[in-house]
Amino acid sequence: MSTSHVLLGLLAGGPRHGYELKRSHDDRLPQAKPLAFGQVYATLGRLERDGLVEQSGQDRDGGPDRTSYVITEAGRARLGEWLTEVEPPAPYVTSALFAKVVVSLLASGERVATEYLVAQRAAHTTRLRELTAVKTDSAATVGDVIAADYAIAHLDADLRWLQTTLLRLADLNEEMNP
């Protein structure tokens, strides 16, 4: 995911300064890693250099020097391009979980592999329960719910895959050691 595109998207609603952008990012994408301030300013600098945003004013009421940014026409065009571009499907195939399960099944004995899988499943279901709690909290915003849904769907997919894999392996074992 590209931070610069997300910032462009947030600026599409109107001019904002760096601090607002960070807060707005963390609010809207609560399940993503929070943005560091340095990263926000570095990205804004790059966007300004490429002519995608420009400074729109200074605001210094009672605080440190704050610069507001506004999206340019070129910026809108770039954002539009990004939003219409189809993401390559199945990026999760390369995840650490997949690699670890496969290696574990190949390298460790069945007992160790199973222990690992049970622990992994427990971790997944715990996280699933936490995310569901976030979602059902009466104070949850639509943004929270959508973000939680996204994570839940992926965890659920992992769990299903774990289960199916184990069943396949059990069948395979039975085939090989009847």
Partner: protein
């Protein structure tokens, strides 16, 4: 917390086919427990036995320290309509009765006056956001609306335990999620225990804890691994 329900060494077979092979389970007051497992693992049978709908072949089901297996059918019937609520996937509303009458039915059976029962029923329909359906017949409602009425009926007596067997199985994801969210919200509000049978991890995640079954026995791994004899 106090133990509400306790099943010990539950066995149950359908003819020669075993459905439960020695399951132990405990449900405390106000707790939400998910029972998961693949099709045919015995999770519905476990729910039916715990709810006193079905008798076990051996083992005991204790509700507040009383062995309900020793009770007569009419005593268990009364238990089910006062202390328990049951909820199935679909088809539990009486098609000829209006939503309000369906929800009022358990109260009427308990001897509550028609008018009063109707009023309470409408309050419960309102709690699930379907107050405007009180005068409608189930056939004229959507699946989600019907299931909300069924939830209201299962909860109208403010039971101590709600038994839900794939309650959202016939609904689309979003509607199912809303209905389930409402069940959990009201159950927490009223301190009801819920036994939630499901085969989906996402649904089970609404519970406080999860127990998995496999081939009629507890599956501590939850991974559906075949138990090695």
């Amino acid at each position: 917390m106090n133990t509400l329900l306790q099943g010990t060494a539950l066995h149950r077979a359908y003819g020669p086919t075993p459905a439960l092979r020695g399951v132990d389970i405990e449900v405390t007051e106000g707790e939400i427990v998910a029972v998961t497992g693949p099709s045919g693992c015995g999770k519905s049978t476990l729910l039916h036995c715990l709810a006193g709908i079905m008798r076990v072949d051996s083992g005991s089901v204790r509700y507040r320290d009383q062995d309900i297996g020793l009770w007569s059918e009419s005593a268990r019937s009364k238990l089910r309509r006062t202390e328990f609520g049951v909820l199935f996937q679909f088809g539990q509303l009486v098609p000829e009765l209006t939503a309000g009458e369906n929800v009022a039915l358990p109260l009427l059976l308990g001897g509550v006056k028609r008018r009063e029962a109707q009023k309470t029923a409408e309050e419960w329909l309102d709690r699930f956001g379907v107050a405007e359906l009180a005068g409608k017949l189930p056939g004229a409602m959507s699946g989600g609306q019907q299931q909300r009425c069924a939830v209201a009926r299962a909860m109208v007596t403010e039971p101590r335990a709600l038994f839900a067997d794939e309650p959202t199985g016939a609904l689309d994801v979003l509607t199912g999620e809303q209905v389930l969210g409402e069940i959990v919200r009201v159950a927490r509000e009223k301190g009801m225990a819920v036994v939630l049978v499901t085969h989906e991890a996402q649904i089970a995640a609404y519970a406080d804890r999860e127990i998995s079954l496999r081939d009629g026995a507890l599956d501590p791994t939850g991974l559906g691994l075949r138990t090695r004899a």
